[in-house]
Symmetry: C2
Subunit: 328 residues, 2 copies
Amino acid sequence: MATIQDVAKLAGLSRTTVSRVINQHPYVTDEKKRLVMNAMEELNYVPNSSARRLRKQQTETIAVYVPRITNPFFSQMVEVMGNYAAEKGYQLILCQTSYSRNQEINYLELLKTKQVDGLILTSIENEWSDIEPYMNFGPIMLCNEYNDEAKVPTVYLNQIEGGYIGTRHLIEQGHTKIGYCSGDNTESRVASDRYKGYKKALAEAGLPLNEKWFLTSAYSIEDGKRIFKEIASMKDPPTAVFTGSDEVAAGIWKEAVNHQWRVPDDLAIIGFDDQPVAELIGLTTIEQPIEEIAKRAMEQMIETIEKKLPSKRKEIQLDFKLVKRRST
Amino acid sequence: MATIQDVAKLAGLSRTTVSRVINQHPYVTDEKKRLVMNAMEELNYVPNSSARRLRKQQTETIAVYVPRITNPFFSQMVEVMGNYAAEKGYQLILCQTSYSRNQEINYLELLKTKQVDGLILTSIENEWSDIEPYMNFGPIMLCNEYNDEAKVPTVYLNQIEGGYIGTRHLIEQGHTKIGYCSGDNTESRVASDRYKGYKKALAEAGLPLNEKWFLTSAYSIEDGKRIFKEIASMKDPPTAVFTGSDEVAAGIWKEAVNHQWRVPDDLAIIGFDDQPVAELIGLTTIEQPIEEIAKRAMEQMIETIEKKLPSKRKEIQLDFKLVKRRST
DNA sequence: TTGTAAGCGTTATCAG
DNA sequence: CTGATAACGCTTACAA
């Protein structure tokens, strides 16, 4: 592998001049520039990025944390972020926390060891106080998930609103017995706010909150199937159910149909995210502007890195949209 | 940020000794080791990875190329690869080629500039002769996609078999007019072999090949919908259709139902991949052992890197499975 | 406009 | 078992 030194020698110039050409500095005669260019060409030279990273103390790499890349909500987010980052000359390191606190902490070392210039969290597994210390090593920001204590830029959706409009829709359809499905993450504002929205809609309509209709550990299609069975075995089952993801909703629906229940007559179901599958099966759901939150987050991160902005709270809030289909 | 020098000074030892402790070399007294550990602790020291990369000439990073991360087939592959890589102490850089030749070439520079130790291609957009030169800069391998000219390790499925068993199944169901959907990539052996398998099954059964039933540009749900319309507008439409992905199949089905066609009576549909959506909607499909090809590929790549294996052809072939559901 | 020289933070070599 | 010293390949004051 040719180094900058080799190029310099062949061109009969100094390393400095070569470096200047590479980095498009002014004050290099066209003649010398051509000399350098030719030498680089001849030697098939490419700058070594490790050396450059060490010298410039930056990596042009951004880490994106997601629970699992196979969750379509997150893969869409990563798709947009990856493309936008590439356009701006940055790479993406993908960090899957697998809903694990340890895994999340392990990956945080990337920032500490200067392997990335910054990181974007789309979910949070640990308490913020466990993450905060890492802010000393580089910019961190939130996209989707949010947190009161976090003094970082945050691009998010008001999940109280999300929970509210979904539940409100079910109430408007005449339902009074409305179940609620969610995951188990107790640190998540996304989860807790969505639940708040659900309760708010219920309270407004003077409907009771029934703890038996609160269903947990809901992440996947399989979980949805399990949840349907739980509902079916209840003495006084809900007539409608609010779910935290289209996958869970799809699982419930699938199993309901298997048991000869009619949707929405026997059970109305509302999903969340508006993933492609929702349109396919006709699921009413709540659309999140994924492309936009992803793009806004990546923009913000790159700006933070390039302008070396100090870490501070900055909220960018976007809105949901109800997509009515035949499951309600 | 504390450096190894700071630790050395605080511990009253040399950089070398500190480095030895960090890298778990033998021949360091327990006493000095403790001294070093304490100093590292006190200074909150972490080794700088850029410096290490430069010195060791390796990055512990692997690039994975996919067309789009939102395609569930590829996101599953990346999920498995990412987790396995993390387990082995490697990071993953995600490269989305967006089905673009240029984008693919752009990303190949990563290897050249020594930003990654190796790369795994799950799809190929360019001709192999355009990719081959990059093999001088580090190990490249294939996973899923394959190519005759490529002298690299390849983990793949025999797509002739895939095309064959799907088509054969439709023939066994009594169909004689069988359509075929695929994408447009002319470089892809996955695509051309699958088509060969289709033709082989047809020929074996003495059925004619009708060019009008060859449908192209099929990638997404939307494409599937468009394709259904093409089929519906034919004078002599096929009664069954083989598709290259569950998403396309789902789109065709969705639109068919919208137009009051019955599946499988008016049109039988077979998908490919066995994505979660297939089970959900009851799509007959061909399962690919994604987890296994992904894991085998990553294993192979890490072995290649760590043992500095020379690049050579090595084929690992795995098998398909037909999953019969109600769409056929 | 160009070059010299000093580092960025490690690890490998070699001598002790 | 430990330490001095020389790289790894690049950029950036500073000098000329």
